[in-house]
């Protein structure tokens, strides 16, 4: 008996020693929008590790990570919610929860995953473990700007009715707070990393609207009303994104709509502190994690270009053309590198953010969003 047990123990030990443990802290996933696949990438090695297939229609897809950085919840355009296990590199679970989804969020405790939908409009909330639906919140509107907020809350906004709702999930039933008059056709929103300020961008009027979520009864606060007054409105060939807040020290940087500029806003007073003219309609204006630079990409047909703005002088310090259709950018958590997805080149391109030198590239099929696992630990991402 004894020798057998010992033998078993020894063989267990050996197999454990051979199984390579997977550390996920420097991994990431890249959405391949046309093929319904994601590529698992390694930040440190600047390499692709695996491709995971079968995620459905991934145009405009995004994802969030579980707190342990093992699972990604991928929100597909076709309403698919797919739980990807990046340790085993497989799909752990998948449900098609609605006809037409637009984004998602994970609760602060990592237990709930929420998806916002265009069709039928509203938010559905799922158990992060099983993907069983735990709450269905119809809104009768296309629902955008869904983020998590501290206190097991989700915040989201209605395109059609201009309301923001706060769903408090800390009790047995969702408790909804409705805030009216956020403005004409909010198209996206962001929450600051401290979970205090929620800002929606508006399509139907020049301006943005903020909410102070630390307030017991948050009221809409107009930000930069009429920022484009007197300027010619230009056609918008792609709606800008506010996801991925760009807070640079004490200011926000936000893309204007219908104007080729980014807007600087004081984070404490929510008043304008400046503008920087840009090459085209900005899509993403993203701050390097230290806040010293903001990188901007643009809408079609100027989407081959990136501009880098110094946040101290608010001037453009670098401009280059990585290639056709730069759709997304993701910084390494400490900002030393930026990864760009260049859709029509079929590449992820990697740059040093100090020297702007190109460090490498990775093949990917029509890549769009790039998501590093470090997002797991940030509110609103």
């Amino acid at each position: 008996m004894k020798p057998l047990a010992l033998g078993l123990l020894a063989s267990l030990f050996i197999s454990a020693a051979h199984a390579e443990p997977t550390a996920t802290g420097d991994l990431g996933l890249v959405i391949e929008r046309a093929t319904g696949t994601v590529v698992l990438v390694d930040q440190s090695d600047r390499a692709a590790l695996a491709r995971i297939e079968g995620l459905g229609d991934l145009s405009h897809a995004s994802l969030v990570y579980s707190p342990d950085e093992r699972f990604a919840y991928v929100f597909g355009r076709d309403g698919g919610l797919t739980k990807v296990d990046i340790v085993t590199r497989t799909i752990a679970n998948r449900v098609v929860q609605a006809g037409n989804a637009i984004g998602g969020a994970i609760s602060d405790d990592g237990k709930l995953v929420a998806v916002s939908n265009y069709e039928p409009g509203g938010v559905r909330i799922f158990d992060a473990d099983t993907l069983e639906m735990v709450a269905d919140i119809p809104t009768d509107s296309k629902t955008i700007g869904l983020v998590d907020a501290p206190g097991r809350r989700f915040v989201f906004t209605m395109w059609d009715t201009g309301e923001t709702w706060i769903a408090d999930m800390s009790g047995a039933e969702p408790r909804i707070t409705r805030i009216e008059n956020m403005g004409d056709r909010p198209y996206d929103a962001l929450i600051t990393a401290n979970g205090r300020t929620y800002i929606t961008g508006l399509f139907g009027e020049d301006g943005l609207t903020a909410l102070d979520l630390w307030s017991d009864t948050p009221e809409p606060i107009r930000v930069l009303p009429g920022y484009g007054r007197g300027q010619e409105e230009m056609p918008v060939y792609k709606m800008p994104h506010l996801e991925g807040w760009a807070l640079t020290g004490s200011e926000f940087v936000l893309p204007a709509v219908g104007h080729h500029e980014v807007l600087w806003v004081d984070a404490a007073t929510l008043t304008e502190t400046g503008r920087t003219q840009t090459h085209g309609q900005p899509v993403f204006a993203m701050a390097r994690p230290d806040g010293r630079q903001v990188w901007v990409n643009f809408a079609h047909p100027l989407n081959d270009t990136i501009q880098v703005i110094d946040t101290v002088t608010k001037e453009i310090i670098h401009e280059f053309k990585p290639g056709p259709a730069v759709l997304h950018m993701e910084f390494t958590p400490r900002g030393h590198e930026v990864w760009l997805s260049v859709r029509d080149a079929g590449k992820i391109m990697i740059y040093d953010t100090q020297t702007f030198e190109k460090l490498g590239e990775i093949d990917a099929d029509s890549p769009s969003g790039i998501f590093f696992t470090a997002r797991a630990h940030r509110t609103g991402l």
């Binding site: 145009s59 405009h60 355009r77 265009y118 399509f203 060939y237 792609k238 047909p301 259709a325």
Partner: protein, 100 residues
């Protein structure tokens, strides 16, 4: 590859008189119109653009919507970026994706 491209050009010109690259136009429809209407045109911020949803429109009406947009909505005017012939090709393509 070159031969194929040349054939496509001829076919395009014969059909719509001035469309130089149907491949590029089809790509524009799915990628760039798709950013609002969905990659498969099933709808998103903008409505469903599949043939079933558009069949009550004529080619001319669709062409003009594409060129001029829908003022007061996010549907932008494409006139600054594409020609009338290209807009007409896209209108046909939306109505009949197999044989635009």
């Amino acid at each position: 590859m070159h031969k194929f491209a040349a054939l496509m050009v001829v076919a395009g010109v014969a059909h719509a008189g001035g469309v130089t690259d149907p491949d590029a136009l089809a790509r524009l429809v799915h990628q760039d119109c798709g950013s609002c209407h969905g990659l498969t045109l099933k709808g998103g911020l903008g409505p469903d653009l599949r043939p079933e949803s558009l069949d009550h429109y004529s080619v001319d009406v669709l062409r003009d919507v594409i060129l001029d947009g829908v003022p007061g909505t996010p549907m932008p005017p494409w006139r600054p970026l594409i020609t009338t012939e290209e807009a007409e090709w896209i209108a046909r393509y939306l109505l009949k994706p197999e044989t635009p």
